[in-house]
């Protein structure tokens, strides 16, 4: 974990040092790296028969976790919205 976080902070440092230059190619590099990584993830999944045979179950789990997480964050966002409206005085 430390290596990964350290690398990211090195990146922030480098980015800050180069702040007077526009590094527009970085976002393209990021996109390509993400493609490479997802390809690797797919390969690992494809070569693992245990994961392949459970793909439907894993999908169901994903739906459940996604909806639970979203429900939680929507509830708190709604609560904060109520507070914001009250502070402004009456509904807008």
């Amino acid at each position: 974990m430390l290596t990964v976080v350290a690398i990211m902070f090195c990146g922030i440092g480098v980015g800050w040092l180069l702040r007077h230059r526009r590094l527009s190619f970085i976002s393209r590099v990021i996109t390509v790296l993400i493609w490479v990584l997802l390809l690797c993830l797919g390969i690992e999944v494809g070569m693992n028969p245990q994961v392949i045979s459970r793909l439907t179950d894993l999908g169901v789990e994903a739906v459940v976790m996604c909806l639970a997480g979203m429900a939680g964050s929507l509830t708190l966002a709604w609560a904060l919205w109520r507070v914001v409206l009250k502070k402004k005085g009456g509904p807008s």
Binding site: G13, L38, I43, V63, A68, G69, G72, L74, V84
Partner: protein, 200 residues
């Protein structure tokens, strides 16, 4: 939407390559993806450090609204904690790691694959892609049911890029800066929270 479709296409292409053994023997996929992950984080760091305008823009925000990223993080983790009780085969930390993706599917699934294997990585990928898709499709309804902060919270880490246009349309132009701020904070929390829950 087009971006996430491309991602899914690469993932599916990978599965096909893996299934039919199209990858030559002797290539250590895990090692290569770790190197690519480090390179990715370095680039993400550069793009964060390079953008000095971003921090300046956030000063105009209402202090109360600065709490929104925290609400998103706490709410998501609470929701996932509740549902983990119904999943006896998954530990709480595994569920929290998946939840901590906050729709940032690429980074979170890669991290989780590194630490917990491709099975949980796949769950993380699907769960977080779904979160982005639901936000893109359901933003107007969320505004109606849960108020104007809801789509921003639902969008998680994506509210500074992929879901920003739909948020602008359904919440209004006034919420663009908040959406950027929210995305920035949640985005930044993903690598920390995911690795934290994976190594617990």
């Amino acid at each position: 939407m087009k971006g996430s479709m491309t991602i899914v296409a690469f993932f599916v292409l990978g599965i096909i390559c893996g299934l039919f053994h199209l990858i030559p023997d002797g290539i250590n996929i895990g090692r290569w993806s770790y190197i690519a992950l480090c390179a990715l984080l370095f680039c993400v760091g550069i793009s964060v450090g390079n953008d000095t305008q971003m921090l300046r823009r956030f000063r105009s925000l209402d202090p109360l609204l600065l709490l929104l990223p925290l609400m998103t993080i706490i709410g998501t983790l609470a929701g996932v904690t509740v549902v983990s009780l119904a999943m006896p085969h998954r530990s709480l930390t595994e569920c929290l790691a998946v939840g901590s993706g906050f729709a940032y599917y690429s980074l979170s699934s890669i991290f989780i694959t590194q630490y917990k294997g491709p099975e949980l990585g796949t769950v993380a990928l699907l769960a977080n892609i779904l979160r982005e898709v639901i936000t893109l499709l359901g933003a107007p309804l969320m505004v109606r049911w849960f108020g104007r902060l809801a789509p921003i919270s639902a969008g998680g880490a994506t509210t500074m890029d992929t879901t920003l246009p739909i948020i602008t349309r359904s919440c209004g132009q006034d919420y663009v800066i908040l959406s950027l701020f929210h995305g920035f904070c949640v985005d930044f929390s993903v690598p920390f929270l995911v690795t934290f829950f994976c190594t617990l």
